[in-house]
Symmetry: C2
Amino acid sequence: MNANTHPALVGSLSTPNPSVKLINFSPGPTSLPKAVEDEIAASFKKPGLTSLALSHRSPEFLNILDHVTASVKRIMDIPDDYEVLFTHGGGHGQFAAVPLNLCHDKSDIATYIVNGTWTERARDEAQKYCTVHTIDGRDPHTGGYTTFPELTEEEIDPKSKFVYLCSNETVNGIENHRLPKLPESRRNIPLVIDASSDFTTKPIDWHGDGVGVLFACASKNIGHPGVTLTVVRRDLLGKDKASPLCPGVFNYTITVEAGNLWNTPATFNIEVVGYLMDWLEREGGVAENERRSIAKSRILYDVIDNSDGFYGTPVQEKALRSRMNIPFNIKGGDEELTDEFLIQSWNEGMVGLRTLTPFGVGEYLRASLYNGITEEDAASLADFMQRFARENSG
Amino acid sequence: MNANTHPALVGSLSTPNPSVKLINFSPGPTSLPKAVEDEIAASFKKPGLTSLALSHRSPEFLNILDHVTASVKRIMDIPDDYEVLFTHGGGHGQFAAVPLNLCHDKSDIATYIVNGTWTERARDEAQKYCTVHTIDGRDPHTGGYTTFPELTEEEIDPKSKFVYLCSNETVNGIENHRLPKLPESRRNIPLVIDASSDFTTKPIDWHGDGVGVLFACASKNIGHPGVTLTVVRRDLLGKDKASPLCPGVFNYTITVEAGNLWNTPATFNIEVVGYLMDWLEREGGVAENERRSIAKSRILYDVIDNSDGFYGTPVQEKALRSRMNIPFNIKGGDEELTDEFLIQSWNEGMVGLRTLTPFGVGEYLRASLYNGITEEDAASLADFMQRFARENSG
């Protein structure tokens, strides 16, 4: 990266120009839909206590908890034999919680499909608690995570307690638009899905896809950091199933038995998830949300694909391209042009295209298109990209 | 409890009467000082993104994180060889994290001073990860937690990796107004303090008291649930010190090395802690805050002690009475009068005196006097208690 400390180059999210609309393309945490943000702001003006001040055991908070739980179940079409948990510790917490709940001891086997940054981290964490078999998703030619591996019987040990995958790898820009099917003979093995960055943007066939556990940290599509939504199929619960080493705060059975109140839940953070769910329902639910996700991402991929190589994106297989996070480089990673792109787009209010992560995304910028981004917002970026390409081609 | 479902009897926190001021005596989560609540509300009206929408890697959030960290260190007089962590999973998360960080394996010894509900839970959790020696604080006569045990050399194994205590037991109403001194020959053993419910209300002599780790969930004195402030003495950190079974998200060394960004921190929840710290500094810091805590609790204990037995409180030793949580019963636990007390006080806006916890506090109501409660608020309750006693004595 350029040593220049122009705010646009170090990921500043401040309004560069108060007269332009701020569009937040951050990979998360990020903005929620404007209507939700307005509702949150309005909640601080209502008489009575805000949920920041509510005891988690008060009837007022229990109403919120019941409402959010019912909304999530209804909107995401979650069958009755699944429990909805509001868990602590973000996605990383679940990286530990999943094997600690589903494997009783280190000899239990789990199969991890590793096709990006987050499944790498999840797999590394799981190795503390179980015997991990890895299905390596790296492209054998490039060594990069640009494909999704074929799932064969041979690669999935039938004794696996679960098969783990991340349905959208935010850093790498790979998504399963529908969950992959395990080979027929392995369909009894529960799938564990990290849906942190694509939850609510497409339907889930809970039973049909054999989902055992699905979790989504709030801070991308459904809220702000501090709570993670975890959905667990009830047959995976049980006093003696989890590892005896599982911290109580991560134990699914304890959490369910205590009605999400074994310890103090993140009350306000949960209420915000509720606002998002209400918004989603008003807007037409998952089907409409998927239509929008397809439209928002298509307009950007179209600009990239039609740029005569001015823009590039790592994932070539269109069926695997993320609708949530669109990585793109400029003239093969030209540093000067990339900086110029960042500064100009930032001046027009488009922020969050470069985040200083420790993951070394290198030459790629990334436009993240979560629920806070409208079709118009994506079109603004597409428009800017086209202009920038025109002005800097040749 | 009375089967009557009057909202006052099931812990409703709604304004019973819009013309009265709501005073929230909940044991936590609870209200923050009005100036802090106003500042939070105002933050949603400012131009630009609120911290709900800030990437944790943006310069804007890093400024917040730096500011909060520096404020906590300055206001709580934390020496330079301690690190401030913003951890996940609440107090219960730390019940697991403490032994997982300070004990390498199950054979390592830790000494737990158990003198109430929360140290019981912490001890039970620790038994998964280390060899626990318990110093039992129950009163040998009543079997209740109404005293603090004497700490003798014989009871503290010199090989203990730490000695654990909770400086204020919220359910039982016992507080160490200053941290107890370990016997001379045991002073090299680090103290681990659960200060969830009394942090910021009295000074801490970090080195003098041998504090190794101190944690405080935010939702009582310093914020709202979803983040926990954990302070760790640097010599206790180190790659090989924690148990290899410690989840990454609970690992102090990983958290410190990543500057609190190993995983996404609860950004907004942390910002709120910052507002509270700014407020505390403006109001005169810990010394003034302790003066207020003494005044707020004294006025209530005085009413109890001068009520000719109309009110009772379980802890008789004044030096151990909690300034944070004042448990009291009415005429030895008279159910009808207790219900009447709850309904009348609720009608006057005083809420949170009964919380439906699973801990069976039984006959006792509880007035919690965290930072959100002013001296005037405590005086209002004292005044009500006196009136109620006058009208119902004899």
